[in-house]
């Protein structure tokens, strides 16, 4: 693999040079597959999403303005592709009654010992909607407004789902802590 910088890589891809396009795929696909996996139900589905995302990235790279992190730009495309690919029912109503629930306290030591794969397995146990909101808010750092736009839900719904997701994770971590103790 060549050690081209991201800027060279981007410019090469903008010029539709297949060598640069291949390098981009080889360099970033493992990272993007991790993102794809968090928003899909299975590994094959994640691979399909990744393939579609890479095609979109290489086609729309001419529009990339070199503002912000390139990896974050690509991750956003993967997330959008994954979310759009899902033919699932969207939540069209809000749990406005849950807005004022306090954020649950997560166990101290249990999660700090977890590595990435164990964390991902734990997050995968969340229901679909909760998992998406948790991933977008906690891992990607999206605001509730952005999550609302992405998932086509109200920001308050996003907020409440995040709260519920944390609550579920709290229970699981406490259970895990007891098991390890």
């Amino acid at each position: 693999m060549n050690n081209n910088s991201d800027i060279e890589l981007i410019n090469g891809c903008k010029a539709q040079d297949q060598l640069f396009q291949k390098e981009l795929v080889l360099r970033y696909s493992p990272l993007l597959l991790t993102v794809s996996k968090r928003y899909t139900d299975s590994y094959p589905a994640a691979q399909d999403v990744l393939q579609d995302s890479l095609v979109k990235i290489l086609r729309s790279i001419v529009d990339y303005k070199h503002t912000g992190c390139f990896a974050a730009w690509m991750k956003r495309i993967v997330i959008n592709t994954a979310l759009k690919s899902k033919s699932r029912k969207r939540y069209s109503f809000e749990y406005s009654g849950l807005q004022n629930i306090n954020e649950p306290e997560l166990p101290a030591e249990a999660f700090s010992k977890l590595n990435a794969q164990e964390l991902m397995k734990l997050i995968d146990t969340l229901p679909n909607g909760f998992r998406e909101v948790f991933n977008l808010a906690a891992i990607e750092g999206y605001s509730h407004n952005e999550i609302g736009e992405l998932l086509n839900i109200a920001p308050s719904t996003s907020r409440s789902q995040l709260t519920r997701a944390r609550k579920i994770l709290q229970k699981k971590l406490i259970h895990l802590e007891k098991m390890t103790a």
Binding site: K14, Q16, Q18, Q21, K22, V25, L26, S29, P30, L31, L33, T34, K37, R38, Q47, L50, Q51, L54, V55, L58, R59, S60, V62, D63, K84, R90, S92, F93, E94, S96, G97, E103, P104, E105, L106, P107, A108, F111, S112, L114, N115, A116, Q117, L119, M120, I123, A138, I139, G141, N152, I153, R166
Partner: protein
């Protein structure tokens, strides 16, 4: 523990995590999506055109081969049947070469002739006459006068060698001796035998008296010599008269002869078909090629549009039909011009999914009383997502008229023709139809060309081709081979995407050459 620490830990662990996978295989799939393979339709068109051209060449080859075999069979039959007449021809040929050493006779015919000739040679003494201005044919015959008179013999001996040399020269120089000449000579020889024999008797009588040793005898001898001269003169006049009559008769025979007979040397010179310096020809031409189109962004701002067009448009085959007029030099070089119609085709295929989100009135919330389990509905705006898939398939055709000027050379080997040609064309834009992208979701009508993106006058392009062909007759030939046309820019500078194309193809021409 605070949620922030949990999020940070999760972000740190998961955010940078990489999942291993077969990246090479993934690139293969992505590449296939980005650059779909050309459809095989074009390959089939090429295959069909090549097969057609090959079939024509093979048909021509076998047709000509068959004809050649038929001609050979007929020739063999003719030779067998004409054996008796060959005998007389052989005699004639020998008569035309009296001073050439006779080869050993190989056939009965030749043997018989040789014997006859020896006898004649024994009785004949050739006398050279003034023949400077006499035609060759007559000159040969006039040389053949037979006598036994010693004085005549003495005179004739003096000129015998000259005569032989003269005859040799005639034979050597008269390489285009004709059958009619030979026939005439034979007839003259045969007819001359009788008068010369009569003359011979008279000469013998005169020479007997010559032996008397007296003045009277001398006078008589002188008288006799004068008489002899008179006799010879008379004989000559008779011979000339006979010759004229025979020549006239021979010419009549010529007319009746069914065989194509060569004429006199002078006439032959007029009949020899020399290649003409220039030859005019007309032809038709058909070609099929691949228009390899290049789309490049006119500035960085238009890169997205160029990329979009590259993704959505594909090349199809280009056809061209032409008429040509040719002027060929005998050396094989030729110039040609004419008129040429060209149609370049492309296909636009567009598939897109558009997702629209609207807010409509509906149940925005449901409240459930945990004690009574009663539900309360709250109306409000809810989101409605509409997914719209758009697909489009359009054939874009560009029509041109070209006026080519080509310089070429063709070389003939038996019935086959090999050559190359090249030149320039004035390209005149006719029109184009179809649609292209002018943004991701809108299209530009090529027929209307409201923004004058495409040229009305295209300028000049260059073309070249190599060909192999077959000559079916003296006038008609079919040739074909690969062709190339230089890049032709069809877009104006104001067009956000610069568009040009080159052609690689195959063309077939049928040409007719006038005399």
């Amino acid at each position: 523990m605070s949620t922030n620490k949990f999020d940070n830990h999760a972000r740190k662990e998961i955010g940078a995590h990489e999942t291993p996978l077969d990246t090479e295989a993934l690139w293969g799939k992505v590449q296939a999506d980005l650059y779909p393979k050309r459809k095989k339709k074009f390959a089939w068109v090429w295959f069909s055109a090549s097969s057609f051209f090959l079939a024509i060449l093979l048909a021509g080859y076998f047709y000509t081969n068959k004809q050649t075999e038929a001609v050979k069979q007929v020739s063999a039959t003719t030779i067998q049947k004409e054996t008796p007449s060959q005998k007389s021809n052989t005699d004639t040929q020998f008569t035309a070469k009296p001073s050439t050493p006779n080869p050993a006779p190989s056939t009965a015919t030749e043997k018989k002739f040789t014997e006859t000739k020896k006898v004649n040679n024994a009785n004949k003494i050739e006398v050279k006459k003034k023949t400077t201005n006499t035609p060759l044919r007559i000159k040969q015959q006039e040389n053949t006068i037979t006598t036994n008179d010693p004085s005549v013999i003495q005179k004739s001996n003096q000129t015998k060698n000259d005569t032989a040399i003269s005859q040799k020269d005639i034979i050597r120089n008269n390489s285009k001796n004709t059958i009619i000449d030979n026939i005439a000579k034979q007839k003259i020889n045969n007819s001359l035998t009788a008068p010369v024999q009569r003359e011979e008797v008279e000469v013998i009588k005169g020479s007997a008296k010559e032996n008397l040793p007296s003045l009277e005898k001398l006078n008589q001898t002188q008288e006799q010599e004068e008489t002899n001269e008179n006799i010879i003169a008379i004989s000559k006049e008779e011979i000339e008269a006979k010759e004229e009559g025979l020549i006239a008769a021979t010419k009549e025979d010529e007319k009746n002869e069914p065989v194509e007979e060569p004429k006199d040397e002078e006439e032959n010179d007029n009949d020899i078909k020399l290649p003409k310096k220039y030859q005019l020809g007309i032809g038709t031409r058909a070609g099929i090629s691949s228009s390899i189109t290049t789309l490049s962004a006119n500035g960085d701002a238009n890169m997205a549009l160029a990329a979009l067009r590259n993704q959505s448009e594909t090349n199809l085959e280009t056809i061209d039909l032409g008429l040509e007029v040719l002027l060929k030099h005998k050396s094989g070089f030729y110039v040609s011009t004419g008129i040429d119609y060209l149609r370049a085709a492309r296909k636009l295929e567009y598939d897109n999914e558009v997702i629209n989100t609207d807010s409509i009135q509906g149940i925005s919330a449901i409240f459930v009383n945990p004690i009574t389990t009663d539900s309360t509905f709250q109306e409000g705006l809810i989101a409605e997502t509409t997914t719209m898939t758009r697909s489009k398939e359009t054939f874009n055709n560009l029509h041109l008229i070209n006026i080519p000027l080509n310089l070429g050379v063709s070389l003939n080997y038996q019935q086959w023709i090999f050559g190359v040609q090249g030149g320039a064309s004035i390209n005149v834009f006719l029109n184009q139809k179809g649609e292209i992208h002018d943004s991701e979701s809108t299209f530009y009508d090529l027929g209307e060309d409201n923004q004058d993106w495409f040229q009305n006058r295209l300028g000049v392009s260059y073309q070249g081709s190599a060909f192999v062909g077959y000559t079916f007759s003296d006038h008609f030939e079919i040739i074909g081979g690969p062709s190339f046309r230089s890049p032709m820019v069809i877009s104006e500078d104001r067009n956000p995407v610069k568009q040009s194309f080159v052609n690689f193809g195959l063309q077939v021409s049928a040409r007719y050459w006038f005399d």
